[in-house]
């Protein structure tokens, strides 16, 4: 039983790894450069990127840690607030249709304006970055959770009530459970937004972090390092995302999309 599960997991990782090998191989051999007439300094070769990572490994890890910390704190705060807001809204029928669009409008706030603004409020430390991330992660969580809480089949609610289920029962046994897939959708989205928010916020008023290192490398033509930081950001994001996906699998194994062994 255990062996087949390990084999299964390994088999699942094979396709992306194969794809990676293929792409990196083509990239290193210069195929993409030729097809799209790219210049070496714009799109660095994988070996140069690898060397850059090796040369700065310690610093890069430090930067990654800092960015992840910002992102995680913002993620937790923003998602929680979004969840609470969605919950409140789902209880106030007359307010929902109006407020939800306003909340989503918040999602349109360009980070490039938010970052300096938050620096103005919170100074140069980690708080200003966290504030940016909270603003970015709040709306998606609110929107998806709201949809989850309100998309329960009313017939099912009626059924529970007809069994004399109390409000708390209906809530916890029906509505929240039903909303879980949506909540996880929101959480997975917020993983991305938190990381991107952290990185971009670090383009302003920062001294360390993946975003800072990235912007510095871009400005000083250090393309291998720039690509390295982008790759590391992607890796960090994928790892974090898979963590949330794992929790999702364990929490809602009954959901149809889980059975397709998707995530």
């Amino acid at each position: 039983m255990k062996h087949s599960m390990v084999a299964q997991r390994a088999a699942k990782m094979l396709p992306p790894i194969l794809l990676a090998v293929l792409v990196v191989g083509l990239w290193q051999s210069g195929v993409f450069h030729r097809i799209f007439s790219l210049q070496e300094f714009t799109v660095a070769y994988p070996d140069a990127i690898a060397r850059a990572i090796g040369a700065e490994a310690e610093d890069l890890v430090r930067h990654m840690g800092y960015t992840f910390l910002e992102a995680a704190i913002g993620f937790a705060a923003g998602s929680s607030l979004g969840f609470i807001a969605a919950f409140i809204l789902s209880e106030i029928p007359w307010a929902r249709r109006g407020i939800l669009p306003v909340i989503s409008g918040l999602a349109a706030m360009p980070i490039i304006a938010l970052a300096p603004l938050m620096a103005l409020y919170f100074g140069l430390g980690i708080m200003s970055k966290v504030a940016v991330i909270v603003i970015m992660t709040f709306p998606p969580m609110a929107v998806t959770t709201f949809k989850g809480l309100t998309s329960v089949d009313p017939d099912l609610e009626d059924l529970m009530v007809s069994y004399a289920a109390g409000t708390k029962d209906v809530l916890f046994r029906l509505r929240l459970v039903w909303a879980l897939p949506y909540i996880f959708t929101g959480l997975k989205l917020n993983v991305t937004l938190s990381l991107i928010g952290a990185i971009i916020a670090e383009f302003f008023a920062a001294r360390s972090g993946l975003g800072f290192r990235m912007s510095y490398a871009l400005d000083t033509f250090d393309m291998p390092v720039a690509w390295a930081t982008m790759g590391l950001a992607a890796l960090l994001g994928v790892a974090w995302y898979q963590l949330v996906a794992y929790v999702e699998r364990r929490s809602i194994p009954w959901h149809v999309s889980m059975r397709g062994q998707a995530d």
Binding site: F41, P116, L120, F203, A205, A206, R207, S215, Y216, D219
Partner: protein, 354 residues
């Protein structure tokens, strides 16, 4: 009629008139479309928002000076998300203007760019500190938070710190401050890098008078200067179109001369260019800022005692000093080959009136 000789005579006449009247040209590029001179396209990448920092280019365009020189110039706007030197390297633009340091750093990476003119004579990126913070000299920066711009502008500061015996990693807290002065105005930190042509005027108009409330730490006063205003051209383009390059430089110099002699008019053009037209109230306010910017650009291009006939000329000695400085501070990793990095012949032919 339209022989080569009469065209040379006309150009000489034009040059004399312009020099005498300080740029009274009214852009009549009419009937001198030479059979001898082919019309050329030049894509100029502005290194930031196209305002009076680029007045010479804007006015040369607006006054038809480029047109007269048989150039179709496209001015590409810059911004925080555009790397002007990379634009030139990739061929998306033919020429840009940036710091000497950017030119040398690019060449250090083996990128095919060449400097063909030098407009600023001194540094335009000083540090300012609130007087009440007591910070007045580089030594005072120890232990302080200093907002700077890391996109190649930081080397003057690094040199300053080194001169003062401070380690930028441990003795001072440097950080990337972004392109807005708001946090500095809100006293979130006490020392900021500014441009002498914009931010310092923004502060002034906001009631923070640089003369009475700020201490200015100007690297030039400490013998350190990496000026802006270096016209950087794509090497291949330069080899293919040396004449167009020379005409571009010449027309640009004329554009600057016109701008300095007609500041009100120029300010209006710059304000419109910056705010992309449409707003009356906003552009009026902005014009004030643009006039101040122009004053400073004039001081940078033509400081006291500097001969006007050398406007835009490259000073190889200055470049050598900067290259040495750059090598010391990691701006470049190997000694610069200045012969290859700059081409003084372009300015020469631009200003010799031929």
């Amino acid at each position: 009629m339209r022989s080569g000789r009469s065209r040379v005579v006309f150009l000489l006449f034009l040059a004399i008139v312009l020099a005498a009247c300080g740029g009274d040209g009214d852009g009549d590029g009419g009937d001198v479309s030479g059979e001898e001179v082919e019309r050329a396209t030049v894509r100029f990448q502005a290194s930031w928002i196209p305002d009076c920092q680029f007045a010479g280019y804007l006015m040369a365009d607006a006054q038809g000076i480029y047109d007269e020189a048989n150039l179709d110039v496209e001015i590409l706007p810059g911004g925080p998300n555009v790397n002007p030197t990379q634009q030139v390297v990739s061929g998306a633009a033919d020429v840009t203007v940036n710091k000497v340091g950017a030119l040398l750093a690019a060449r250090d990476q083996g990128l095919p760019v060449v400097g063909i003119a030098q407009f600023d004579r001194s540094s335009s990126f000083p540090l300012v500190a609130y007087k009440d913070s007591g910070i007045a000299t580089p030594e005072d920066l120890e232990g302080k938070e200093v907002g700077i711009w890391y996109d190649g502008d930081e080397y003057e500061v690094l040199a300053l710190l080194d001169q003062a015996g401070l380690d930028p990693e441990t003795d001072v807290e440097l950080f990337e401050q972004g392109f807005t002065m708001d946090p500095f105005l809100a006293r979130k930190y006490d020392v900021a890098m500014v441009t002498s042509f914009n931010e310092i005027n923004v502060l002034r108009l906001e009631g923070v008078d640089p003369d009475t409330e700020l201490n200015v730490i100007d690297p030039s006063e400490y013998g350190i200067a990496i000026p802006h205003g270096t016209v950087i051209a794509n090497e291949e383009w330069l080899e293919a179109e040396p004449d167009a390059a020379a005409r571009f430089v010449g027309a640009t110099i004329e554009g600057w001369q016109y701008a300095f002699a007609n500041k009100e008019e120029t300010a209006a053009v710059c304000a419109e260019s910056a705010l992309a037209a449409g707003g009356e109230a906003a552009t009026d306010e902005l014009e004030q800022l643009q006039v101040l910017m122009l004053d400073e650009m004039e001081r940078l291009h033509l400081p006291e005692g500097f001969p006007e006939s050398d406007h835009g000329k490259i000073d190889p000695e200055q470049y050598q000093e900067i290259a040495d400085l750059g090598l010391d501070f990691g701006m470049i990793k190997q000694a610069a080959d200045l012969e290859a990095a700059m081409d003084t012949s372009v300015w020469e032919s631009a200003t010799s009136g031929s």
